[in-house]
Assembly symmetry: D2
Homo-oligomer: 362 residues x 4
């Protein structure tokens, strides 16, 4: 029930999938930041289901900022956003309220909340709660851009289908942020979309890997031993439903390298210390070294599938089979990237504010 | 500089490699826990370098508990441990104080601390600081054992060489905890040790993957959205130097599965709800489901290698080559597992105490 | 900008006096607590201005619980309340936006937020933000009552006019909670109300002292050294606008006693350890001793008065005189008691949850 | 058991009166601060018992800084201090271990720690633990002085005997910091010392009020709603044993004033906004307004008195009488002021670092 994350700049999340509103409060944000409604809308759009490859639930994502903004500038006081839940089909869920869906939070929520949690649409554990995170993340991310800090994510792989590596990082980030389905290689993109559609026909789901770059962060940011860049980012990422792995730089790949291959040797370039390679993903000892931060997140296949599955009836205490109805995505990876971008922005901004103070984002 | 981790049960870490003492304070520990000096000694021994495959620096790891214990039982007040630094060869380090070692924290510490950090032996960023973590972790881990909670870690792979899967988890954990080089398959163990020795001759280093199991944790533990089991464990793991990736259950492997393969279907077994597979690693929605927690950590090759490397001289502002002398491990993975076990214990115990209160570990 | 308070059970506050909504999020509340709308309404009513002795702004305090409640029981997930701001006369305030009102937060908010804070009605610093605190406090307080824990506050003195001491504490608490103007002695009550009315005619304001009792808290609660009962309660109290002093037990009166007078000697009574006196206010070493907790808060006279005052014009950089218009209370002490009760409940409940776990309030 | 206080700059406290060491860890301190051993010694001396008016236990207060300092400058990493306990007479205490001393923490510690706490000399609750707080506080306070921020405390009253008001605040602070018994008026000082000696003869104890001034803090510091200057300072003060009341500005005195008397009217003086009076104690809305911060703490009479008192024998379950032996102060107010100064420095420095970042104190 720890729904607040961050130290100097923190976010508090609340809501249930079928309640009146979901929302979030951003506390510690500097005053004087202009609210860029267009940027917010474009970020929300990336997270929102749409088109053939997403769930049938169309969410308008109308939102209100009910505090912390005056005359389209942040006031410096807590900024709370509300998103109404309008397109609800609770009946889809209430029928099976006592039969936990495999690999969802239904059973664990039952254990933790003793049967009192809201069963409709996953309740508090619905992926829908990522919408307010994307919203407040967009506000922070926009402010980071004004400080020269840019964040971008692509689908590195989808069910084995791989995108190309980033080349010109700044340009590629810009491209990714402007596109709905964030893949750099057009051929790979086509194949991934085809894979997803095929998967929908199979009534199944697929997952993949998101790769995130953050550039422009000054050297020396991060609060080891415990509030390292990696530790805080991973903490944030694992809050996102469906993420089951996080790695930085070469990550698990480092386990197959020799030290002489893995080490990032240093040199002066244009009067600045840089590393010749970036196997460390821009972080040493938990602190930024000025190189791009590189993070990869494993996104599991959506657990809501239409195939019949085994489960239990908690009321009757017996084994049953379950067929999930409702509206679901065969893959949420392209939508998850908006959440990853948002949580990356919130986490890095917090560590920047710890280091440089509450006015840093002005 | 956030050197405190945990909410209800927290650990604070301090010290430098060549200072008088390194140490840690454990706060929020229940009163009445017996201090098991033998268990502590065995854990410290696992972390301590020794034999052919480790650094030449032999550390005695004598320690004192200077507070929080009276008559060999915890008092419930902060428990502080001190470990003196006795075997120091500062001259090894001071010569190259201004030439950062590649993929170490030298350069980032320089940026963050403006040249004031202790350069001797990595200072505050030395792997040596994991010794007090192992020490306080052992106290907590011992108390968890009395609650039926067991944690064990094996080297899943070293530079590509693989150990077998766990079978009887409880028995395998017991075996691993009793052995210095934690590999289940004797043939794999032999090969890994041979790999390490060969690597020493190459004056290079290698890394691998540690896999951790925790069993006996009740269902319903974890504080989503943000203080999930995964998020808190990953946060803790990334504090350990050399760890660059963390995954749970099938982790990155999930990105290649269909939902119908990845989902853990449920059933009643002996009157208890269990999952037929454990691809989720015992965690759904950030909350324990009663199945074993399974976590894997990528351990990079030790950055201290004897091969000549490129670096920069920060005083002269020019490119130089660097040859690291001193005493170093060709691989620290077997030692790192003691730290992983300790941080896993500290993190899970904290989340258990948040849920069940400060007296939980009694 | 730290708008979250509490460790295991926390409250996050947001909103501005003239924004769309003010609200609060309660996180860490146990599942299964029934929402008692009647009790909430009665608490909100105590805080709400009404009648001759209060401000002319009549607030309806309609509220919505938008998350964390399902079927009138708490779910265990974050509970967010919203109160719409309906009766706004922003023009009253905007005229003098750049002329700080003496002893208000106008000038300090200007300094902190660089002129970006919402000037209407005190913005984020308006006493109106105490309404959501009273609301979530009432939910927690109601749950505490089911655990046998009762909190009550009387006006110990108003501008020198004194109420009688509490006698039968449980009965007096009950009386106080059932009455709008919380004074035990009917004569004193009459005089205080007369004082307030007279003060309104003088176009001035008065303050006083609130005295709070909490009974039924088990022994052994509190987390010293730093999270003492006194420290946490005082931290919470000083968040309430107008409170400038907090004391426990005999408080400042102890400074005139001998130790032999001040010490609370112990004895067994009905098989339980009690103290013969309660000069310590139920707390020793920051931990509850089972006796009633006794706290007093100094409430300053409302800073909004109608007399002409000296101030500065921040835009023109010159001295000016200021006449405050708008609607104001000659004394807010009787309304402040609802906030004191709420914050006392939130603070004690948090320390109880730290000790006994997240399910304690069920 | 929350022994860590502070957000960006935090202190962790540990130890027992008769253990090997007591100590504290300061985390988040900027690098490059020179350690002023003379200043530290002078602060420790003020806290240390000495002379006729203090306890017979003479403490050397030798200390070691075991981490976070290199070449007499802070490194920016956690700074841990250790003070050995040398002059211990445990037998004085162990005899009566199960008979709680009135108004001490003996009984509440028994309840909280289930009989496992260290009974010798008050264990973890001994006033002796304030020594490391004074030590780390002195380091921070010294750094604040370099930023133009000065803190000083006088005994405003002792058992009714009053000191004069501060006049030239900067000069008076300087005088107070240079003197062992911090009273401005020489006549009052003489009387207070006489009162204390007389009290020793009566085998009793007395208390008083400490008044603290802090000047030079910039406007706009403080993190309302909850992390107000008042809330954080009071939180810190109530950690100090013997303090039972805290007020700011006119504090409880405000309850007898009219708003027109209490309000601090504003004006420009030398181009700066100031208030004509300082009844608010330099704080409005929980944020500094640039005027001196004024705080008063009620110090209760030392609970250790030599008069026979009633108590209970927790083992036998019966009422007994208790005569405390050992070494005790008839008044600790002059020693407590060093702790008040230290905790004030730590709290203000933390709020300054939250606002201005981790490098602020450099």
């Amino acid at each position: 029930m720890k729904n607040t994350f961050g130290s100097t700049l923190s976010v508090t999340l609340f809501g249930e999938s079928h309640g009146d509103y979901i929302g979030a409060t951003l506390d510690g944000l500097a005053p004087g930041i202009r609210i860029d409604r267009e940027f917010i809308a474009s970020e929300l759009k990336k997270r929102r289901p749409s088109g053939k490859i997403s769930t049938g639930r169309i969410e308008a994502d109308e939102y209100t900022i009910v505090s912390g903004v005056y005359g389209e500038y942040t006031t410096g006081t807590p900024l709370t956003v509300l998103i109404p839940n309008t397109n609800k089909r609770s009946a889809d869920y209430e029928a099976n309220a006592r039969i936990p869906r495999p690999s969802h939070a239904d059973y664990t929520a039952e254990c933790k909340y003793h049967g009192f949690s809201d069963p409709r649409g996953g309740g508090h554990f619905s992926g829908r709660l990522t919408a307010p995170l994307v919203l407040v993340g967009a506000i922070v991310r926009r402010a980071l851009m004004d400080k020269g800090i840019f964040i971008g994510t692509h689908i590195k792989s989808l069910h084995g289908e791989e995108d190309r590596e980033l080349g010109d990082i700044r340009a590629d980030i810009e491209y990714l942020n402007a596109t709905e389905y964030p893949v750099l290689d057009p051929m790979a993109k086509e194949k991934m979309i085809a894979l997803t559609e095929e998967c929908r026909e199979r009534r199944d789901s697929i997952g993949g890997v998101l790769e995130t770059y953050a550039i422009g962060i000054p050297e020396g940011v991060g609060e080891p031993w415990f509030d390292t860049i990696e530790g805080c980012l991973a903490h944030a990422m694992f809050s996102i439903p469906a993420i089951k792995g996080v790695e930085f730089g070469c990550g698990f790949g480092l386990s197959n390298l020799y030290g002489s291959e893995a080490n990032d040797q240093l040199e002066y370039r244009d009067g600045r210390v840089v590393t010749k390679t970036n196997n460390s993903g821009g972080i040493n000892g938990g602190i930024t070294n000025g190189m791009p931060i590189v993070m990869r997140c494993a996104v599991k296949p959506t657990p809501s599938i239409f195939k019949e599955q085994d489960s239990v009836d908690l009321d009757k205490g017996e084994n049953v089979t379950l067929s999930i109805s409702g509206r679901h995505d065969p893959s949420i990876i392209h939508r998850a990237r908006a959440v990853v971008d948002a949580m990356t922005a919130l986490t890095l901004a917090d560590l920047l504010c710890v280091r440089y103070g509450t006015d840093y984002l002005r």
